[in-house]
């Protein structure tokens, strides 16, 4: 009942489980403004989808949820298009570099290990920082103190050249930091099969000092374009994209995404950051346990031609 055969993954999956998976990840995506790939890719692998197909198909699913997520954010005036295009320019370069890097690692058979370690390192550090920062703000607010205004503060970033004006974010800063942030996000997008929101959102909040709501709208806008390029690269170079699976996940994802955006508006910025931090840390912990605990099966079979 409800079993569907996936033509590229060459396995049969339950339609309702995959729809639910897409919806759950779409909900988080709309709520936090992240692509959700850092959850979707491991969850797909846990459901028996081969890792390479999980990465490529996950990227394609993020394209769909990001489109509806961006439209929802757009109507609230949360997308800084000018900033978005600077991030995309960096993202394209990063995505190409990620595909080349993944190809090299695959040749020596260690892509899975390096991907897991990178996940654990990034998610662990970012989750801890976000949790610590947001709890501090929440505690201060409970104590009745007002949070110090952050915009207008100067740091080393304001000393860099090629300054651009970003009226919507009320910023006048160098184009170099957003380009670099976009490139790192693009690298992670193609290398880990994620949207890269989990690194872009904190980087824009803490380094660029953009307002949180505009950060969320702008990062999800950038994710559309970068994941679209990543999808094309994986489909063309690795043949690892399962269109049927992607379509099922997208269908679930767009529905979940709309509810996520609404749910997100019930909470304050620091509350959202604290919740996202807990989810990020949970995924990092799970991946770390998989690396450290003795696996039930020590051997694995991989087709020589495949990933």
């Amino acid at each position: 009942m409800f079993q569907v055969y996936l033509p590229i993954a060459e396995i049969s999956v339950n339609l309702l489980v995959m729809l639910g998976l897409g919806a759950a990840v779409g909900f988080l995506s709309g709520m936090f403004g992240v692509g959700g790939g850092f959850l979707l890719t491991p969850l797909l692998m846990f459901s028996g989808i081969p890792p390479a197909i999980a990465v490529a198909t996950g990227a394609n699913q993020i394209v769909g949820t990001s489109v509806s997520g961006t439209l929802a954010q757009w109507r609230r005036g949360n997308v800084d298009v000018r900033m978005g295009f600077v991030l995309i320019a960096g993202g394209v370069v990063g995505a190409l570099a990620g595909v080349l890097l993944l190809g090299l690692l695959r040749q020596i058979g260690q892509s899975g290990l390096i991907i897991s370690l990178t996940y654990v390192a990034f998610l662990g550090v970012i989750g801890t920082l976000m949790l610590w920062e947001s709890l501090r703000v929440i505690r201060k607010r409970r104590a009745g103190k007002s949070t110090p205004p952050r915009s207008g503060q100067h740091n080393w970033i304001h000393g860099l050249p090629f300054k651009m004006r970003f009226p919507q974010s009320r910023l006048y800063i160098s184009a170099i930091p957003p380009l670099a942030i976009g490139a790192v996000a693009g690298l992670l997008a193609s290398f880990l099969g994620v949207g890269g929101g989990f690194i872009m959102v904190p980087a824009m909040i803490y380094l660029l000092r953009m307002p949180t709501n505009i950060v969320i709208g702008t990062s999800i806008f950038q994710i559309i374009f970068v994941t679209a390029i990543v999808t094309l690269l994986h489909a063309t170079l690795n043949h690892t994209l399962d269109l049927l699976l992607a379509f099922i996940l997208v269908a679930g994802g767009v529905i979940g995404g709309q509810f996520g955006v609404r749910a997100g508006h019930r909470f304050k910025g620091e509350q959202l950051r604290a919740m996202l931090a807990v989810v990020v840390l949970a995924v990092a912990l799970r991946l770390l346990l998989d690396l450290v605990l003795k696996p039930a099966e020590l051997y694995s079979l991989v087709p020589l031609s495949g990933a």
Binding site: V4, L232, L233, A235, H239, F247, A251, Q258, V302, P303
Partner: protein, 255 residues
């Protein structure tokens, strides 16, 4: 040159046993489905191999026939890796490559096949998981043997390797049937079914049939597009995702 010589030497006892046919008995067999189509509702399939022993030219009171059926799927090079603990983390080792293990392999027999024929005969015919040729490997190296047994164990768990000692059942003296389950993850390609007829450990007759597993319809179109026009396929995926995102937005906005 050397390989042809080896092949000829290797084939000699078989041809002597079968083609020369000093035995009056013959086996006839076929498969219920010659073409297996994989569509979106595919969850695996059971195929039936049936046949009969023609002993009309044999002395009247001959009996005790044994049948072994071997089904082989298309082979593909496989890397088998073993995880080792390095600095507290489980890391894949360099791995061993098997050049041509079959993607599917099943042995069905009317009684335990090791009792039907000698080990030497079974090895020559490649009958039984311990006798399958996986391509390049050395039997002497015990570490390789652990990789080989890991491959057999993992494939057995997936239902891709099977051994059924009572898989062939006789209906009366002459007719026999055997069923085998092809799981959902069967590789596509050409399969062969070899039916061997034995009596008292002697190979009397052999019959080969073939079977094709292929994707059809929507699944075939997607599969071909993905491998022959990957850029168009990727572009199609992106466009579909964008359209689905737009549709979701228009369907669910409240104002």
């Amino acid at each position: 040159m050397r390989t042809t010589l080896v092949a000829i030497l290797f084939a000699l006892p078989l041809t002597a046993a079968v083609a020369g046919s000093p035995h009056p008995e013959e086996v006839q067999a076929d498969i219920s489905t010659r073409e297996i189509s994989i569509q979106s509702d595919f969850t695996g399939i059971e195929i039936l191999i049936f046949g009969s022993v023609d002993f009309s030219h044999a002395p009247p009171d001959q009996s005790g026939y044994d049948v072994i059926v071997v089904i082989r799927g298309p082979s593909e090079p496989i890397v088998v890796r073993q995880k080792h603990r390095v600095a507290g983390i489980w890391v894949n080792g360099p791995g061993k490559i098997f050049a041509s293990p079959p993607g599917f392999y099943a042995v069905l027999s009317s009684r335990p096949f090791r009792a039907i024929a000698s080990d030497k005969m079974l090895k020559e015919l490649g009958i039984g998981l311990s006798n399958v040729d996986f391509g390049r490997y050395t039997l002497g190296d015990p570490r390789e043997e652990s990789y080989r047994s890991a491959m057999i164990r993992l494939r057995k768990e997936e239902g891709l390797f099977q051994e059924h000692d009572d898989g062939v059942s006789f209906i009366g003296r002459s007719l026999f049937r055997a069923t085998v389950d092809l799981p959902v993850n069967v590789p596509i390609g050409r399969y062969t079914s070899d039916v061997y007829l034995f009596r008292d450990g002697v190979l009397l007759s052999k019959k080969q049939s073939t079977l094709a597993v292929s994707k059809v319809g929507f699944e075939r179109v997607l599969y071909l597009l993905a491998f022959q026009h990957p850029f168009i396929y990727g572009l199609l995926a992106v466009i579909l995702a964008v359209l689905a995102g737009l549709a979701g937005w228009f369907a669910f906005r409240r104002d």
